[in-house]
Symmetry: C2
Subunit: 451 residues, 2 copies
Amino acid sequence: MQKPSIPKGTRDFSPEEMAKRNYIFNTIREVFHLYGYQQIETPAMENLSTLMGKYGEEGDKLLFKILNSGDCFSGIADEELPERNPVKFAVKACEKGLRYDLTVPFARYVVQHRNDITFPFKRYQIQPVWRADRPQKGRYREFFQCDADVVGSNSLLNEVELIQLMDEVYHRFGIRVCIKMNNRKILSGIAEILGEADKIVDITVAIDKLDKIGLENVNQELRAKGLTEEAITRLQPIITLAGTNEEKLEVLKQELGASQVACKGIEEMQYILTQTNLLGLRSTLELDLTLARGLNYYTGAIFEVKALDVQIGSITGGGRYDNLTGVFGMDGVSGVGISFGADRIFDVLNQLELYPADSLQTTQLMFVNFGAKEQEYLLPLLAQIRKAGIRTELYPEPAKMKKQMGYADTKKIPFVGLVGETEMNEGKINLKNMLTGEQNPVTLAELIALF
Amino acid sequence: MQKPSIPKGTRDFSPEEMAKRNYIFNTIREVFHLYGYQQIETPAMENLSTLMGKYGEEGDKLLFKILNSGDCFSGIADEELPERNPVKFAVKACEKGLRYDLTVPFARYVVQHRNDITFPFKRYQIQPVWRADRPQKGRYREFFQCDADVVGSNSLLNEVELIQLMDEVYHRFGIRVCIKMNNRKILSGIAEILGEADKIVDITVAIDKLDKIGLENVNQELRAKGLTEEAITRLQPIITLAGTNEEKLEVLKQELGASQVACKGIEEMQYILTQTNLLGLRSTLELDLTLARGLNYYTGAIFEVKALDVQIGSITGGGRYDNLTGVFGMDGVSGVGISFGADRIFDVLNQLELYPADSLQTTQLMFVNFGAKEQEYLLPLLAQIRKAGIRTELYPEPAKMKKQMGYADTKKIPFVGLVGETEMNEGKINLKNMLTGEQNPVTLAELIALF
């Protein structure tokens, strides 16, 4: 018989991996709660009508579709079958699909429950999503997203608090990060000033290469993309933008003063920087004009977090959007949100070995099983130890010592209790520290006090 | 535009429902950890070859199947299409299906990772499962299972500890329960003694009706099921079995002494009862021969938990099995496990109103937003309050007082802080208790001490 396996691009999570993932999610969750975010969950399956057309043509193809139970052929005419058209067939044979991200289900949730929600609505959601992408290193067909959004509030206070929140999360992880920030309105202003509204992406991509290829080559690239010499000249102070955030803002004010939308963006940025300055962030916060994520979607602040000590893509991202729910017929719901990349945070914590020791150990104390008599003696003792909140177990059978100690070892249990004839008579527990090998007889009260 | 909706039989969980569910899962999880159980997770999608044939013919139909991405027709000949046979088609057009329970994926996990697992393996798993059942009250197409199993150990200590564990969980919930216990070996012994091996289910079903229909009618029903008069006569002491667990065991010993398998079952039961007696359970533990869940599957102890103060089916069940992984080609893995019914526990806690108040509140303290100046003053203050671990938020904009207080009300925030001109000058926070309406000026230190 063949060894069973799981679908490609999916993963099993072992106890150790789960302990690490729980550490990550619990840390983030705790900080979400500190800021008043509340959790919701939506079903794994959504109606395909909810999902289709929301992620572009390519996204539609990457949706996992669920074959209708019962007769999947019922909506299909005989003449259609010989066409063997999988796309057309799927639309009729599948009513449901698996969640592709958390944003569309959240938008659907807001519209569906609009009468029960008190706005501003601060929600977070930590759930898996599924994409029929080609699996590759670091890219899975099932992975977790971890999103927090405030909807129904235009206040920049939300941006300020989200920056604080990201700062707090990475402080707790012990990961040194740079929080990069941009504003879609400033990018729009640049394009407006240059008269090149459709070239924002080309411009940000080119500027981003300054360090690597130098100013001459950046200008060359802009020329190749069709920018006029006049535009390129006007763009020089922006390409070479440097210094502190305040210095950068000064240059932008000078260069983009003629654009109303740019001024609005600069003002927003100024406000956010001033407020966060008063809060004493531990991360660096950096104005970065090359940040161009979600340009079709974001309308104000854009965020991205980079780890300083590991080479890896952004580990958190987000921004402000204008119209979350318009696609479901409810206009005027703006909001701002961030998304933590759990898989990448997992990798960073692994690489830097930043998991706190106690996040990885489950059982704190194991008792060796010497036989029926000792077992009977120990059971009520264990009950008292557990009552004190100590995670403890008794090896379930009187196996060979080596086997029992091996079990404690692989399970990373830091203490082992040995209770034989002598200890039972003396009312003691012989406590072995698995790290140092040290062994000491202690009373129950001493043992409980120790943990 | 039509209001969006979700597939029938699925649910959204609101912040309040999530708080309740998290309370349930966290309580169970904490107790699992106290007993040394470690969490694993498996993918939502399994290969259909892993799932098919494991749940009977009916189960195969209830599996949600995922249409192959790319060309779902590629494995299907032109001649097959006009047959329009959905079952045959699904087998070829779908490689993957959604998890139907946690047991088969766990068995698959054990076999796949056998070389990395240290046995005995105490694992728990809390994940959703999906079934294309007809949705009805209390039955969903997506629901959570919450399982704990020890595999690779035959020791009855595991049964004893699982009973202790269930007792602890329901004690923490404040739900009064009766833990019912049976043993498959005793049932087999009864059938052996009567010479009616295939009638165990009929017999247990009939005995179960004793209270409702009386002994005469029970015997009548057994006759109708084809039991001989001799068998029925021999069965009388067992049908009318009553008294304490010890008295019941005495009768069983007398009546079933001739069956070796029954004696083994009685001995197991005796051991488990003796050991748990020493541990002082808070729940009643009751030997109940009518317990016949999972008869195809369980080989030793069988458990079921009934809530005493609510009319509802069993809220936890489980038992010992002999051969978890045989179907995947790995023999000799026996184990014992239990499964908590999260949806029913949710209903019981709701009906008895047993949720602790602090499990339902997320934010502990909200500050009213009076405007830009106050906001700027409050931000660093909030940072300090959060540093003390208090979940606090500042309403994001200076909206009308009524709106802000309404927000605190619906979010069940117990305290509201008011800081205006006077309070800023005096360095105080005007703290309002939302339950009593009481309002008092406090310093930051006093406020932190209060929580």
